[in-house]
């Protein structure tokens, strides 16, 4: 199904540029040829329908190729954050029963160690070099002898994507979305946002996340548009993670150079761009739509961006379970800047009260989504599914209200997530790791407002009796077990955690 959408674009725009990455430009014809060649290669090593393959990759063309190859094979893609450490990768690979990992040289050894410890037969495929005990991505490809896009694309509607949604307790929940779900999402989003083959979408957000995958990669390549992927910084042949602020000038130049028309982003990126000093000449006149997702966009960032570039940022609302569901395309965005807009085409959003009834205009209740793009539920969580998925609707747990024009306003979030430097972190996940430290009795993780780039991760720790615990012990423990961006920036030791008489942690007192 998803491949059908790509194939339609390939047939209509075969010579057009599908993907730009640094100096590399890949046409639709070339993209499809790579996709089909990799499919054959993956098939030759036994990957087929229902098989899961993990992508542990930064944003790169190979991500796009691998995604569509697996779609062509009716396989399942498990896109993971490339900054994850061994324990994190191991959990997801194991939970998803992945048959292969596609990664880069930088992470190949890490992935190899993960595979060795799992004691399962998992293929390792490396996209940018030859690594022992692995297959080279481009060597695995088996080119087709003839142009094959006259053949019919797969009409398979089954499982295509595993993503994990952070929960209020315990480990993240596995969300499975089908080819049908994703094809509906891309149709709804592109029709609502009016995306056409004339568009060029700049991808600065991770492709492993619903925002990057749906609103950048799928939106562009299913409509014959061009996706420009901000390339990795490479130093001495090794990709280096560089904070966005160090790439601001380059991103602004890229928008100009490639004539970018659509910029999907997150508040941190937009804030960094908005703070470009006024003496720097920037021409963003090609940009027709700039939208923010992932977290609430503050009035301050909206106004700064508008003042600096003359472009109003639109808010988009979505979730891992349903993809993008609403966007604010209001004719007067200044007046409704805090709204996430009206539901996208073919999406229904209701505000439901505690009694299960739909609430009137202005009343705050739970945001409930009905859409063909919606997952059927969390894997192996029957009880939770009974609460969150009822009557074909997803009860998001987020609180919101609607105005008389049907615009949605999000007023509260179910999950306490920390927004740090463009990453969203589940504090419970970090607490679960911290309490396993032999000297830690209790740990609570909160976000505290930082001077730059959002919140700072703060861990408040109660030590076990007679134990002396140092900051560095906690830091090195974290460093081995979690991605760098999750590691607490502030560690505070306390004698006890403040709690309500009912034992509820008083997080606000820890900030």
């Amino acid at each position: 199904m998803v491949e059908q959408l790509l194939l339609e674009a390939v047939k209509a725009f075969s010579e057009k540029t599908a993907l730009v990455y640094d100096n590399l430009k890949i046409s639709y014809k070339e993209l499809y040829s790579h996709v089909s060649s990799l499919s054959k290669g993956l098939s030759s090593i036994g990957i087929g329908q229902g098989d899961c393959v993990a992508l542990v990759l930064p944003n790169c063309p190979e991500f796009a190729i691998a995604f569509y190859s697996l779609a062509q094979l009716n396989g399942i893609v498990l896109p993971l954050n490339h900054l994850f450490k061994a324990e994190e990768i191991s959990y997801y690979i194991s939970d998803s029963n992945a048959r292969a990992i596609i990664t880069d040289m930088k992470r190949a050894e890490l992935c190899r160690n993960v595979i060795a410890k799992l004691d399962k037969e998992i293929e390792l495929i490396v996209v940018d070099g030859i690594h022992p005990f692995s297959r080279y991505f481009y060597e695995l490809m088996i080119p087709e002898e003839t142009e094959i896009y006259d053949s019919a694309a797969s009409s398979f509607e089954g499982d295509l994507l595993y993503q994990y949604s952070s929960g209020s307790t315990g480990r993240p929940k596995k969300v499975c979305r089908t080819q049908y779900n994703l094809s509906q999402e891309v149709k709804n989003f592109t029709a609502t946002a009016g995306i056409t083959s004339a568009d060029t979408i700049l991808c600065t957000v991770p492709l492993y996340h619903a925002h990057g995958l749906g609103n950048c990669l799928l939106a562009a390549t299913c409509k014959g548009a061009t996706i420009v992927i901000l390339e990795q910084v490479v130093q001495k042949g090794i990709p280096v993670e560089v904070p966005f602020v160090f790439r601001r000038t380059q991103v602004l130049e890229l928008i100009e150079k490639e004539g970018v028309t659509i910029l999907p982003a997150v508040p941190y990126i937009l804030n960094t761009l908005a703070e470009t000093p006024s003496n720097i000449q920037v021409d963003l006149s090609t940009l027709r739509l700039c939208f923010s997702a992932g977290n609430f966009l503050s009035k301050d960032i909206f106004e700064k961006f508008l003042q600096r570039f003359g472009i109003p940022i639109r808010q988009l609302y979505g979730c891992t379970e349903a993809g993008s569901v609403s966007i604010n395309l209001d004719a007067e965005p200044e007046k409704t800047l805090d709204s996430v807009g009206i539901p996208m085409q073919n999406v229904e959003i209701k505000i439901i009260g505690e009694a299960g009834n739909e609430l009137p205009i202005g009343a705050i209740g739970e945001v409930v989504i009905k859409s063909e793009a919606l997952t059927s539920g969390y894997s192996n969580m029957r009880e939770l599914n009974q609460q969150a998925f009822k009557g074909g609707c997803f009860f998001t747990g987020d609180l919101g209200k609607k105005d008389e024009f049907g615009r949605l306003y999000i007023t509260g979030r179910k999950k306490i997530l920390i927004d740090t430097g463009g990453h969203k972190i589940d504090p419970i996940e970090i607490e679960d790791i911290l309490v396993n430290h032999p000297k830690v009795k209790e740990a609570v993780v909160v976000g505290v407002k930082g001077d730059f780039a959002g919140e700072l991760v703060k861990a408040v720790i109660v030590q076990k009796e007679r134990e002396i615990c140092e900051n560095n012990e906690i830091l090195s423990y974290c460093k081995q077990r979690m991605a760098e961006f999750k590691i607490p920036k502030i560690i505070e030791f306390r004698d006890e955690i403040p709690k309500s008489p009912l034992g509820k942690i008083l997080r606000k007192e820890l900030v």
């Binding site: 130093q235 904070p243 790439r247 730059f452 959002g454 560095n472 961006f485």
Partner: protein, 94 residues
């Protein structure tokens, strides 16, 4: 006047202060500070602290990967900003 070595030493202290789990031995002139943990959160703190420590104002286009990749490049940038190189050149040609 600050010598290049003094600038490097001072820059090292500024960097170490924001990367608490990195020891002085781990941070040499060529160490890639992005790999040592310089991320979005502490990046702007580094920029701000360097500006304060050396009494300089960095332009947006100077806040880039090339200038911040290691202590040597940071020191070079600071030196340029402070106009030290020009002064040294002038003093050696007199």
């Amino acid at each position: 006047m600050n010598s290049t070595e003094q600038i490097k030493q001072e820059a090292k202290e500024v960097v170490l202060a924001i990367l608490p789990d990195i020891s002085s031995e781990d941070l040499n002139e060529e160490s890639d500070i992005f790999s040592l943990g310089l991320d979005s959160i502490n990046a702007m703190t580094l920029v701000s602290n360097l500006q304060d420590a050396f009494d300089i104002q960095l332009e947006t286009d100077e806040i880039n990967f090339e200038n911040f990749q290691n202590l040597a490049t940071i020191a070079e940038m600071v030196e340029k900003k402070k106009g030290l190189k020009d002064e040294i050149l002038r003093s050696t040609t007199v």
